[in-house]
């Protein structure tokens, strides 16, 4: 009995190498839920594929940029076609804003190289962009309120 308590105490203090209470101290000891599920590795694999597809580790080739340009052209065509769908009503505005945001992000990420470049540039640019967007929304809200 004394040995058992001593053993538990030792484990609690982390003296034992394989104790229940032992605090993990290496990356290998940390639990990996993404590898313990039926979808083990799916997220990691998807992220790897996405990173490879979007050329995270280097600049794109001319063919890659041509495909990005084609995607931008197709989105513009979709915007143009959606504009004439009268049944959309008020849904037109959010749909157009989402499509516009997609084009914006694609140009900034790939054509302006923010996807590949130093993160400092991303922070500097989006500081200005978000401030501008917040001011626009604040102005619209303030002037929409009638006394």
């Amino acid at each position: 009995m004394k040995k058992l308590f001593r053993n538990i105490w030792n484990q609690f203090l982390g003296h034992s190498t394989d104790g229940y209470f032992r605090v993990p101290d290496t990356p290998q000891d940390l639990p990996e839920p993404e590898n313990d599920t039926p979808w083990a590795g799916t997220l990691k694999l998807s992220m790897e594929k996405f990173n490879k597809l979007t050329r995270k580790n280097g600049h794109g080739t001319p063919a890659f940029y041509a495909i990005v340009g084609l995607i931008l052209a197709v989105i513009t065509l979709v915007e143009f076609l959606i504009f004439y769908v009268e049944s959309l009503g008020v849904l037109l505005i959010p749909i157009m804003l989402i499509l516009s945001l997609m084009k914006f992000v694609i140009v900034v990420a790939f054509f302006m190289h923010l996807r590949f470049d130093n993160k400092l540039f991303t922070y500097l640019f989006f500081a200005g962009f978000i401030l501008a967007a917040v001011i626009a929304v604040a102005l619209l809200v303030l002037l929409a309120i009638k006394p």
């Binding site: 940029y65 340009g69 513009t76 501008a132």
Partner: protein
């Protein structure tokens, strides 16, 4: 100390010129953000026509948007080819970008003149004021970008000073003719220039540009320092050009697609 300045060493580990360009673009977001906000705040508040639903032409503006997007593609291809060591191809893509920029400006000149004929000027109503100021400043940015790209490409493509001056002069005369026409017919800020004069200047400029481009002789530079410098400067011009493109993406959505059905305000 002098070496440190020459090599642009700083604590951030990034190129100073590029850092400054990104800071400028961040601040330019606020510049255009204020115009777009003003347009939205005064949307649907014009007391007299013409209203957006009477004059905005979505098919034509979609084509001009497509042209500007493709100019962005040409720009990124220019940077990509220069980075890969194919400087000559990169310079021609740079010229293609400037040419597409000129086409976009042509669309804008046509649109402004067309609106003026329909009775919409910056003085007509609040829609006219906010619309012309916003798109006019964007057009100004495009013009500056075209001038930058033309000077950049020509200074490296043409070998003799005479040839450089000929091409730059030709392109400038096209730009001046377009700007002059727009200012006379639309903005009414300079005395009326006869159309024949504006079209003659435009035509001479266009013939000069095409003729001098035909005469170009160029070759890849082998000097590594020169390649790095060209690559860096072209990347800066590219960042500016793509920024002009994303501003237009926002304007196209907010002003044209969302507001095109706006009519007289419900009082």
């Amino acid at each position: 100390m002098s070496t440190a300045i020459e090599e642009h060493v700083n604590s951030t580990g990034v190129d100073n010129k590029k850092l400054m360009m990104w800071i400028f673009l961040g601040s330019d977001c606020l510049f255009f953000g204020s115009f777009i906000s003003t347009y939205l705040v005064y949307r649907n508040r014009s007391l007299a026509g013409p209203y957006p639903n009477e004059i905005l032409d979505i098919p034509i503006t979609t084509v001009s948007t497509f042209v500007l997007l493709m100019s962005s593609l040409a720009m990124v291809l220019a940077v990509s080819y220069v980075q890969r060591g194919s400087q000559v191809i990169g310079r021609y893509w740079t010229l293609a970008t400037a040419l597409l920029g000129l086409v976009f400006m042509g669309f804008q000149v046509y649109e402004f003149s067309h609106f003026a004929h329909l009775g919409l000027t910056p003085r007509t109503n609040i829609f006219g004021s906010t619309f012309f100021v916003m798109t006019g400043f964007h057009g100004g940015h495009v013009t500056f970008g075209v001038i930058w790209l033309v000077i950049f490409a020509i200074s490296r493509l043409a070998e003799s000073l005479k040839q450089k001056l000929l091409i730059i002069g030709s392109v400038f005369s096209v730009i001046i003719a377009m700007a002059g026409t727009m200012m006379t017919h639309t903005l009414d800020v300079i005395p009326n220039i006869p159309s024949a004069v504006a079209y003659s200047v435009f035509g001479i400029g266009l013939i000069g540009t095409i003729g001098s481009l035909y005469l170009l002789k160029t070759s890849d530079t082998q000097n590594i320092e020169s390649i790095k410098k060209e690559e860096g400067n072209l990347e800066l011009a590219g960042l500016y050009w793509h920024f002009v493109d994303i501003v237009w993406i926002v304007i196209f959505t907010v002003v044209y697609l969302i507001s095109a059905n706006d009519g007289a305000p419900l009082l």
